[in-house]
């Protein structure tokens, strides 16, 4: 079953999300809002990864051929999975990274809030050193 929309659709949506994220990161004063912008950027990267996994031919280095254990290609597919799964694994890791990043970033933001009484990123950069 072919996908309903072509690759370009997904790439354009991802590009737009990326731009929105960049805008949020650049213009917001509130540190929590900046964090939201970062999440948008990570999401757009994820859309790209999953879209490429769906549409684009996997590179030879991603395939089971690259696995060092000598084995026939059929058996390798059973054990190591399809080469396109790489895109999904990357997407899963991006999600994990986003979770870890959100946790640590909010810890830092809470620390800033408690020591400075605000979460305005401009003021925080003015007070450094």
């Amino acid at each position: 079953m072919m996908p309903v929309a072509s690759l370009e659709w997904f790439l354009m949506i991802a590009a737009f999300l990326f731009a929105c994220g960049i805008y949020t990161i650049l213009t917001r004063k509130n540190a929590v809002s900046v964090l939201m912008g970062v999440e948008l950027v990570l999401n757009s990267a994820n859309i790209n990864l999953v879209a490429f996994a769906r549409f684009v031919k996997p590179a030879a280095s991603l395939g089971p051929q690259s696995v060092p254990i000598p084995m026939e290609s059929g058996a390798a597919a059973v054990i190591y999975g399809a080469p396109w799964a790489s895109g999904h694994v990357f997407a899963a890791f991006v999600i994990i990274l986003a979770a870890a990043e959100a946790a640590v970033a909010l810890g830092i933001i809470l620390g800033i809030y408690r020591s400075m009484g605000g979460v305005d990123v401009d003021e925080v950069s003015a007070l450094k050193g």
């Binding site: 084995m71 026939e72 058996a75 059973v78 054990i79």
Partner: protein, 419 residues
């Protein structure tokens, strides 16, 4: 039973329609049926049962007045019917319906007629939007429950993972309700509720993970199929259910799941978010009338969902406690259409009975047990349930590995076949 195929073969006039229309229609009917049997009226009946049970526990009557007649008498338009019901030929109607049974209908009517209050200072948009999210999150989980033998609205490949994922939609909805109300008790109740639900998601997730590991699939229909046999018996009946497998070792994840599930629906003994003595009524303090009833519906449908997940993952879902192969053999000789109906009814009856049993247990727990303190609650989750669940998960993996090791000759043959 593949829904599309089933409908195509049995309703011939649909043959010329495009696939997607038929599919949407069928799922819509299915979803509508679930909404109108398992969610909305069941909430009403559950409240009646809950109040009667509470009455018994507290040595008093529950609702015992509102029957057919008083409902009619309450509406100006139907008052004449009530008067008619007092007359001789219809008098039996009033006495046949148990008193109080229609209390929920009267309550529903009352909620429907009530003034819709949005407090000043509330964020109107968020106040009005949150019931949508909460109800959508708790109702969408019903899409994959196998309500009868091999029969679910959609047969998702990631079944149980989807249920865990879509249920988490409820948490932002609850925070939204608490935030939008502009009431400190609502906000605090929402925060507590969110913290409690997300915390207990972990032991619940790990307990369900144990079952997924044993079944080797996340598809709920396939998990049910995996429970048809066990202990090396082809038709095992209740012995094949995951809760009773491996000599009772699986009872621990089952218990952890049930405790976590009770905590996730925010009811006593885990009802800190709406502890009446501290926070008025939790995140839905400011809600009134019909808008409030959606939260209520979401609570009861969540209770049923917890029971349904426990049933499917640990107690065989629609499988009866006797070997299902017996009835299958019995139905095989019948008219295929009749057999289909009987088979569906059998599965649905067992699924419903088992799931509703858990709802009754939860209701009984509410009126029997005192409330936890907030530190005890979090301690129970993070210091008791999560360590036990993780340890038990590893132990069950080890047991499963041992079992597979004993049947290794077959496995080696599988490897050799691929070489």
């Amino acid at each position: 039973m593949d829904l599309l195929l089933f409908v195509r073969t049995h309703l011939s006039f649909l043959k010329s329609w495009p696939d997607w229309i038929v599919y949407v229609l069928v799922v819509f009917v299915f979803a509508f049926a679930i909404l109108n049997t398992l969610v909305a009226p069941l909430t009403g009946i559950s409240t009646y049962i809950e109040r009667r049970l509470a009455g018994r526990v507290q040595y008093r009557w529950g609702p015992n007045r509102v029957g057919f007649r008083s409902l009619l008498a309450s509406l100006p338009i139907t008052r004449w019917m009530a008067r008619l019901a007092d007359k001789q030929p219809f008098k039996f109607l009033g006495s046949k319906i148990p008193g109080g049974l229609l209390q929920f209908a009267a309550d529903g009517l009352k909620l429907f007629m009530k003034e819709d209050i949005v407090p000043t200072g509330a964020d109107k948009m968020m106040f009005k939007l949150s019931p949508y999210i909460v109800l959508a999150g708790s109702f969408a989980a019903f899409a994959v429950f196998p309500v009868s033998h091999g029969c679910s609205a959609t047969n998702l490949n990631i079944g149980i993972f989807y249920v865990i994922a879509i249920s988490s939609l409820v948490v932002p909805g609850i925070l939204m309700a608490g935030w939008g109300s502009a009431n400190k008790w609502s906000l605090f109740g929402g925060m507590r509720s969110a913290a409690q639900i997300v915390s207990y998601e972990i032991p619940v997730g790990i307990a369900l993970l144990t079952t997924v590991m044993l079944a080797g699939t996340m598809n709920m229909n396939e998990i049910v199929t995996a429970q048809r046999s066990g202990y090396g018996i082809e038709s095992a009946g209740a012995l094949g259910w995951f809760a009773f497998r491996y000599g009772g070792l699986m009872l621990i994840p089952f218990l952890i799941y049930f405790i976590g599930g009770c905590a996730e629906v925010n009811r006593t003994p885990f009802d800190l978010p709406e502890a009446e003595s501290e926070l008025v009524s939790g995140y839905h303090t400011e809600y009134s009338g019909f808008r409030w009833s959606f939260f209520f519906m979401a609570e009861y449908s969540n209770m049923f969902a917890v029971g349904a997940i426990a049933t499917t993952m640990f107690l065989g879902g629609p499988l009866p406690p006797y070997p299902v192969q017996w009835t299958e053999a019995l139905f095989a000789g019948m008219n295929p259409n009749l057999a289909l109906i009987l088979r569906f009814t059998e599965g649905f009856a067992w699924f419903f009975a088992k799931s509703y049993f858990f709802v009754l247990v939860m209701i009984h727990m509410r009126w029997t047990l005192p409330r936890y303190r907030v530190d005890q609650l979090m301690g129970l989750c993070y210091k008791v349930l999560i360590p036990i669940a993780l340890t038990w998960f590893v132990i069950m993996c080890g047991v499963k590995m041992f079992r597979m090791e004993t049947t290794l000759p077959r496995a080696t043959a599988a490897v050799e076949a691929h070489r």
